[in-house]
């Protein structure tokens, strides 16, 4: 068994993986006939170069923190929840139903209602694949993929046939009542006298996401349930032998995972759009996979990776505007390369790095013990 120092595992290897993804992306940009350096500069300027840019970057990052945490929690139990997209879509439905049910007097009431509704709907959508995995042994990856498609069909049906205004052509709900409006960064920073641009959609869901990340850290590393989840993830056999019920762990892990994915809707549906539109998730459920992989399923890593992908999404918009030769899908390519290098091809970097550390370790030991190692 090769031992790699923790810092290499959580910092060095992800950075090498990321560098490889960036390098290949640079080659793609070169092929298109643009300068990768200029593209990088535009991307950084557009994503973190101003308060306005930060406002958008952090808005996207908020979505990705939720979906990234959702994937990460499931990873700890060695479950691959690929259904974040569908769970987040259902979360949006939950938010929309609750927000339109009542003329909300104040956001302080509408926010908890939105959180509960989105978490509940997201968890419910994860519950069926979870139950099928726990009780019937159906592979959760396949069922969650199927549930993404079922969710998408369900939402189209509901929006077209029931939720849209009869007078409206576009399949979307009417705007939520004004009381459901969540404070944006502009308003919140205004309370303490800090000026922040008005248009970026980053809102109170960002601190909520950070809280959720903290809660996940407490859950996984500081509670009995978290211990059981990790034990189950390391070895189902051993966990079972230790008296841990696989059914209970699978169900609870997936409910938490689904709830986290669903809560993305607090940011995107209640916070930004303030109505439910078709495809409100916009791929954020899948970005969560990349975020969880990059962040090594640790909440701090997830937050950092989510900000990175937020930069990519916001910077990508600017990139398309400034350099029209590069289309917006460049960010999908980068995202794919990040998933490829940090997830699928991880061993390509890990094995050589492991050998390197073994060699260093051996020569260190030799020096220490006089050549007995």
């Amino acid at each position: 068994m090769r031992r790699i120092p923790v810092w290499a595992d959580v910092v060095l290897i992800p950075l090498i993986n990321l560098a490889l993804a960036v390098f290949v992306s640079g080659l793609v940009v070169l092929y298109i006939g643009e300068s990768p350096i200029k593209a990088m500069r535009v991307l950084l300027q557009g994503s973190i170069g101003s308060a306005y840019a930060w406002g958008y970057t952090l808005y996207y990052a908020t979505n990705f923190i939720f979906t990234g945490l959702a994937v990460a929690v499931a990873f700890h139990a060695r479950l691959f929840n690929i259904g974040g997209e569908g769970q987040a879509a259902l979360g949006g439905l939950g938010v929309a139903l609750v927000m339109m049910a009542w003329d909300w007097p104040h956001w302080a009431l509408a926010l908890p209602a939105g959180i509960i509704a989105s978490a509940f709907f997201g968890a419910a959508w994860a519950a069926i694949p979870a139950w099928l995995q726990a009780r019937r042994g159906s592979h959760i990856v396949i069922t969650t993929i199927m549930f993404n498609f079922i969710a998408s069909a369900l939402l189209v049906y509901l929006l077209v046939n029931h939720l849209k205004l009869p007078s409206s052509m576009s399949p979307e709900t009417p705007s939520f009542p004004p009381g459901a409006h969540l404070p944006t960064a502009h308003e919140m920073l205004g309370w303490i006298g800090v000026r922040f641009p008005k248009s970026p959609p980053v809102n109170i869901a960002l601190p909520l996401a950070l809280l959720a990340a903290f809660a996940v850290w407490v859950l996984i590393w500081r509670t009995r349930l978290g211990y059981e989840i990790r034990a189950f993830g390391h070895s189902e056999e051993a966990a079972r032998y230790g008296g841990i019920s696989p059914v209970r762990i699978i169900m609870l892990t997936m409910l938490i995972s689904g709830a986290l994915a669903g809560m993305m809707a607090v940011n995107a549906v209640q916070g930004e759009a303030e109505r439910l539109v078709l495809d409100s998730v916009q791929g954020a459920g899948f970005v969560g996979i990349a975020v969880a992989l990059m962040g090594r399923s640790h909440p701090v890593g997830v937050i950092l990776a989510a900000i990175l992908f937020g930069m990519l999404y916001q910077g990508g918009v600017e990139l398309e505007f400034e350099m029209p030769a590069i289309s917006r899908e460049m960010i999908v390519v980068i995202q794919a390369l990040v998933i490829l290098f940090t997830g699928a091809l991880d061993n390509m970097v890990r094995i050589p790095v492991g050998r390197l550390f073994m060699r260093i370790g051996r020569s260190g030991a030799k020096a220490g013990t006089g050549g007995n190692g």
């Binding site: 691959f80 498609f149 390519v333 794919a336 390509m348």
Partner: protein
């Protein structure tokens, strides 16, 4: 419903089932060898793009097909390197491949053609056209059999016939050849295959080559036969329906044919009737028809109607004992 509508439905069922069938059989080889493949969608998409782009430039559908095959093979080998050589997570590799295909096709389409990610409209020899089977015109007037032969069986492009011939071929390869026996064994018990002195990685690489080829044909069919060019994300979940059909068919070739025909029929009915009215139940919305393949797969997976058990070694990288 009169005969005409039935014939039309049968005809479009075959058209719509063809890409599903090819992708489904592609997945069959990969998964039977013990490598999960949720990247069928991506391989079809990249093949569809390269086939249409090459056909548009060269004016030849066959050159397009070759380019599509090559593109799909490259992606399939990427999956092989990640999941066989580097023993990475096969599901994550599949996810990466799907995104890579979505991004690359849009990006290259934008760079090469500047038509919003589309390829130019394919005309003439750049497209696979319907071929009339011998005697179709002569038999058309024979009652019942004539119209079925002339309208349903005859009059598809050559890729459709290739797809349907791949079913008996796959059956033969799988159950009547030494390669097929080894392929089935390596998906169930790679250690036993290894003990017999056969290379597990080599077998799996071979399986993934076949997967790449079949996905390539499926993609080329979409953009150069069923449609006259590539549009963005034109696979639209077909790779996942094929995956569903594969589970539905319990990883066997003949049931794969019936499963893909069933899913093709569902799509054809959905397109033809939009909202289906069934007496006593009311109107079934078109979205339900679209979701039905996925719902059926979940039901099958749950084992309520005949349990689907995947190849035992599926998804597990093989580590040789030392």
């Amino acid at each position: 419903m009169d005969l005409d509508i039935v014939l039309q439905l049968a005809d479009s069922t075959i058209r719509l089932a063809t890409p599903l069938l090819l992708a489904c059989l592609a997945g069959l080889y990969s998964e039977r060898s013990g490598v999960f493949d949720i990247g069928l969608e991506g391989k079809m998409l990249i093949a569809a793009f390269f086939a249409a782009a090459t056909a548009a430039v060269t004016g030849s559908a066959w050159t397009g097909l070759a380019a599509g095959l090559a593109a799909s093979l490259v992606f399939s080998m990427l999956h092989a390197v990640a999941s066989i050589t580097f023993r990475g997570n096969q599901l994550i590799s599949g996810v990466a491949i799907n995104f890579l295909a979505v991004g690359m096709t849009a990006l290259l389409g934008h760079t090469w053609f500047r038509q919003g990610g589309q390829t130019p409209q394919l005309v003439g020899a750049a497209r696979f056209h319907a071929i009339d089977l011998p005697g179709a015109a002569a038999l058309a007037d024979v009652p019942v059999i004539g119209p079925i032969y002339a309208e349903v069986i005859s009059g598809h492009s050559v890729l459709v016939y290739i797809a349907f011939l791949t079913v008996p071929l796959t059956w033969w390869v799988l159950y009547r050849t030494r390669f097929g026996l080894r392929l089935r064994a390596v998906g169930e018990n790679p250690a036993a295959v290894d003990t017999a002195g056969i290379s597990v990685p080599l077998l799996r690489y071979q399986a993934l080559v076949i997967t790449g080829i079949l996905c390539g044909i499926a993609g080329a069919y979409l953009s150069t036969s069923m449609n006259a060019g590539f549009v963005r994300e034109m696979t639209a979940g077909k790779g996942f329906i094929a995956l569903a059909a594969l589970i539905f068919a319990k990883w066997r070739p003949w049931p794969a044919l019936f499963a893909t025909l069933l899913f093709g029929l569902l799509e054809a009915v959905g397109i033809r009737f939009q909202n289906v009215e069934i007496a006593g139940i009311g109107t079934i919305p078109v979205q339900f028809m679209q979701a039905l393949p996925y719902i059926l797969t979940v039901v099958i997976l749950a084992g309520f109607v005949g349990k689907a058990v995947p190849p035992r070694a599926g998804g597990e990288p093989y580590v040789k004992e030392e």
